[in-house]
């Protein structure tokens, strides 16, 4: 009786899934390892972002040793500032991924909302009797509204049209980008002549904290508004996720949608709200991004940012299959990616290889989490 070895793909996939199931139940093998098993049990009780947190600390220490300039407040603030847009969208993405969904459209939405905001700003500034404050506020409202509306559209398709989140937001990824390029006539949106709007992208000088910059000039220490907004968005996201019914329902739907429905959770509405929230987060990010550069490039602003956001969320210990995750983890994930990028610049790694390093680190981070999960029975 010869037994063949050929396996078709779907067979292999299912068999692999079964194996993982076994591994999850399988502790370490021999009797003498009970103590080590207890250690793993204890490790499993730690929050899911512990690994990423430890990695971040190690990285900070190592980078500081290798290049003390890393530690300068200017550089640290710079890292926060450069990653605030990813961080703001990451808060929304955390909710979506815990819901067992995904949103690929946020990068394109960033360009579209930012672009339409700048068009609004320019149009309002050109009108008689419209103050600069009104114009800037109008532009901000437009950006938030475009973000929320696009998110709600994605949410409607997913919740009521039962379109798979990947597909629905893939449509958004392509369509919103196209729309942004169309409105920009293929080029960029520039905001003209609003110092107020430009100031939004700067920061708040903190009095009495004069910090030396290399070059001898003394400037006030600034906390950029983008960073402050990121903090506020993260706190709001934390409260929504952990202290409101919506957040609890997001966890329930992500862990087991059917059981949630049987417990009278309004599943479709929860999905709609969650995608609207990530759209809103993209709108907030659009304000910060457009103000910081006082322009939006219709074809490159936000390009591939969705992947960076998803990577940060997953590195932060949020489960791709949904049902588990945290805002704190995502913040750490964003910082981890930011610090690595910064480190590569400071250690003068060839910029063409930055992608390679990032890719390896993302996969390693997730692999480490998987191993941790298998080890614990």
């Amino acid at each position: 009786m010869a037994i063949g070895k050929t396996q078709r793909l779907r067979v292999a996939v299912k068999a692999a899934a079964n194996k993982i199931g076994f591994l999850r139940n399988m502790p370490m093998t021999t009797n003498s390892l009970t103590d080590r098993r207890r250690l793993w049990d204890d490790l499993a009780a730690l929050p899911s972002w512990t690994g990423a947190g430890v990695a971040l600390l190690v990285l900070i220490v190592v980078t500081t040793i290798m290049n003390p300039a890393f530690r300068s407040p200017t550089n640290l603030v710079n890292i926060l500032n450069q990653n605030a847009v990813v961080g703001i969208i990451g808060v929304g993405m955390t909710l979506v991924i815990i819901l067992a969904g995904i949103d690929l459209a946020v990068g394109s939405l960033l360009a579209l909302a930012g672009g339409l905001g700048i068009l609004t700003l320019n149009a309002l500034l050109g009108m008689e009797g419209v103050s600069e404050v009104t114009a800037v506020l109008g532009a901000m409202v437009v950006m938030l509204a475009v973000g929320a509306a696009a998110g709600a559209l994605n949410g409607t398709l997913i919740a009521f049209g039962k379109v798979a989140p990947f597909i629905a937001t893939l449509g958004g990824l392509v369509a919103y980008r196209s729309l942004a390029v169309y409105y920009a006539g293929g080029g960029q949106f520039f905001s003209q002549g609003s110092d107020l709007f430009a100031a939004l992208g700067q920061g708040l000088p903190i009095p009495g904290t004069n910090i030396g910059r290399p070059g001898g000039r003394v400037i006030p220490f600034e906390i950029p508004y983008t960073v402050m907004v990121w903090c506020v968005v993260a706190v709001v996201g934390y409260v929504i996720l952990n202290r409101t019914r919506l957040g609890r329902h997001i966890f329930a739907v992500g862990a087991n949608e059917r059981a949630a429905r049987y417990s009278a959770v309004p599943v479709a509405r929860i999905k709609l709200y969650t995608y609207t929230l990530i759209g809103l987060a993209a709108g907030v990010a659009a304000i910060m991004s457009a103000a910081r550069y006082t322009s939006v490039n219709s074809s490159s602003t936000g390009l591939l940012i969705e992947l960076e956001v998803i990577a940060a969320v997953v590195i932060g210990g949020t489960r791709m299959e949904g049902g588990a995750g945290s805002i704190a983890g995502t913040v750490i994930g964003v910082l981890l990616i930011g610090v690595i990028k910064n480190m590569m610049v400071m250690l003068s790694v060839d910029s063409h290889l930055h992608g390679l390093v990032m890719g390896v680190i993302i996969v390693l981070a997730v692999l480490a989490q998987q191993l941790g999960r298998w080890r614990t029975a």
Partner: protein
């Protein structure tokens, strides 16, 4: 039997988990060709013992012997090599593949590097015939009934030359007739010299089928008995709980006069046709019938989980049109699902969050007050005697009986006027069963109207004031709980007269009876 070398034995087997000693110094031998039942309450260590034998779990101490030789079982394939196969409660088959492809999954028959379908089918047919399964080798597994899928799994185990078959609650998902067929198969396997380790909560089955019975309690080996005519269910139950069992079913209270739930002509397309009944305050109305008779679908129709086509539902005289479960819950309906792990509870969520999932609004103002939430959960834990480590542990860490109590607590949280329970004691041990019965009676005494769906006859007869027997989507009979008999229920459930019973020799013999479609509204 004891002088034969056991085909498989365990010596001083211990398995520790962080909080408990799930298995404590257990020594046991299983003889070739015996049916050896393993019984005990949930958490007694049955699953742990099985999982160790099946290579899914490593022991903390002690050893496993196969034909007298110590072996290390690191994986399911190790166990398989030693001739040990396990039939899980949740079957391990790929729905999208055919019966034959499933049987030879991972060991495909090939010719010149390509799959040899003809050979696969012929070989599969042989093994299917050996277990008396009539399914076609080419049929998709997903299209078969659960019973037929179970047979396929057994055929697969035998095709791998299994000498020891571990069956975990194999009859939990089967109808009566299917159970009888399975019992026949187990007897045939015994004649072929296969050892069957049979885990079950259903004591009459255990007494009917096994040669020897091992009782586990709190991880310890209590005793192993030879199944002799004098052995009673009562004796086994006492051994399992370690004390003498009192009256299992409490006295039925007197129902009130107020009609709480009134259902007229309810239709669920494809499943339920023209069902009418009333439940009064304090009354427990049972729903019996074969699996597939439409009882669960009826409950889901009432809850707004399924679309209904016609029919009127009224709660205390007020008409209820439930378009979603939310509507039903707001009106005061609660439904304890039969599928605890898939629908009843959110696995992977803590005990507290499961308990308050439906009633969460109460603890919000507007942010969730976690302390109040935890306190409320603690109150339920105390009242229902739920054994849980910490309330913020995942629900998955609780035993089946305790999980079921949490699922019940979740619905009691909303203080329902009508409680629909669907197989409330499935996969629940004797101790927890009695507690659930007592709880339902207590609630009824406080004026709750209860719909009690169950496939266990004694439960229906012991618990209910009236029993509706459903067949093919209709209420075939409404019996008085005090005077009804098992035979009456069976007769109505299967259709009066043996001629209506579908033939068990036909190719479709393993399928349950399909209900008639409802006429479109």
């Amino acid at each position: 039997m004891s002088d034969v070398t056991p085909v498989i034995a365990v010596e001083q087997l211990t398995r520790r988990f962080p909080a408990v000693r799930a298995l404590d110094d257990v020594s046991l031998g299983f003889a070739p060709g015996e049916v050896h039942a393993l019984i005990g309450e949930n958490g007694a260590g049955k699953s742990t013992l099985m999982n160790i034998l099946a290579g899914l779990l490593a022991p903390s101490a002690g050893r496993v012997l196969v034909r007298g030789k110590p072996v290390q079982l690191h994986s399911a394939s190790d166990a398989q090599r030693h001739g040990i196969a396990m039939i899980h409660q949740e079957l391990n088959l790929v729905d999208e593949l055919s019966v034959a492809e499933n049987i030879y999954l991972g060991r495909e028959w090939t010719r010149a590097g390509l799959l040899d379908r003809k050979r696969t089918h012929a070989a599969a047919r042989e093994h299917l015939d050996a277990v008396g399964c009539l399914a076609k080798p080419g049929a998709k597994v997903g299209s078969l009934s659960i019973a037929a899928q179970q047979m396929v799994e057994i055929a697969k185990a035998l095709s791998q030359n299994a000498k020891v078959l571990i069956m975990d609650e194999p009859t939990a998902v089967l109808t009566r007739r299917e159970v009888a067929l399975l019992m026949g198969l187990i007897r045939r396997l015994r004649e072929r010299g296969v050892t069957v380790i049979y885990i079950s909560h259903v004591l009459p089955e255990v007494l009917a089928i096994s040669d020897r019975i091992t009782v586990l309690r709190d991880g310890r080996h209590v005793t192993t008995l030879t199944n002799e005519p004098g052995l009673t269910e009562h004796r086994l139950a006492s051994l399992m709980v370690g004390r003498s069992m009192g009256q299992q079913f409490p006295e039925r209270g007197e129902p009130g006069d107020e009609v709480v739930l009134k259902v007229r002509g309810l239709c669920v397309p494809g499943h339920v046709k023209d069902v009418s009944f009333e439940v009064r305050a304090g009354e427990i109305v049972g729903f019996g019938g074969l699996i597939g008779a439409g009882r669960t679908e009826m409950a889901e129709g009432l809850m707004g989980l399924r679309r209904t086509s016609g029919g009127e539902v009224a709660l205390s005289g007020k008409p209820l049109k439930a378009r979603s479960p939310g509507d039903a819950v707001r009106a005061g309906l609660a439904y304890l699902s039969e599928d605890r792990r898939g629908r009843g509870l959110v696995m992977g969520m803590p005990v507290v969050q499961n308990t308050t999932l439906v009633s969460l609004k109460r603890y919000c103002r507007p942010l969730i007050r976690r302390r109040a939430e935890t306190a409320a959960t603690q109150a339920h834990v105390d009242r229902l005697g739920i054994k849980a480590g910490r309330l913020h542990d995942l629900i998955d860490t609780l035993s089946g009986g305790n999980q079921q109590k949490v699922a019940l607590a979740k619905w009691l949280e909303i203080e329902p006027r009508v409680l629909i329970v669907d197989e409330p004691t499935r996969g629940v041990d004797v101790g927890a069963k009695a507690e659930i019965y007592a709880l339902i009676h207590e609630l009824a005494a406080q004026g709750l109207a209860c719909v009690f769906i169950s496939s266990e006859m004694n439960e229906l007869l012991g618990m209910c004031h009236r029993i509706a027997v459903m067949r093919a989507g209709r209420v075939a009979a409404m019996l008085d709980g005090a005077t009804a008999t098992e035979e009456q229920i069976m007769q109505h459930a299967a259709g009066v007269g043996a001629a209506r019973e579908p033939s068990t020799s036909g190719r479709r013999g393993w399928r349950s009876e399909k209900p008639n479609d409802c006429a479109s509204p």
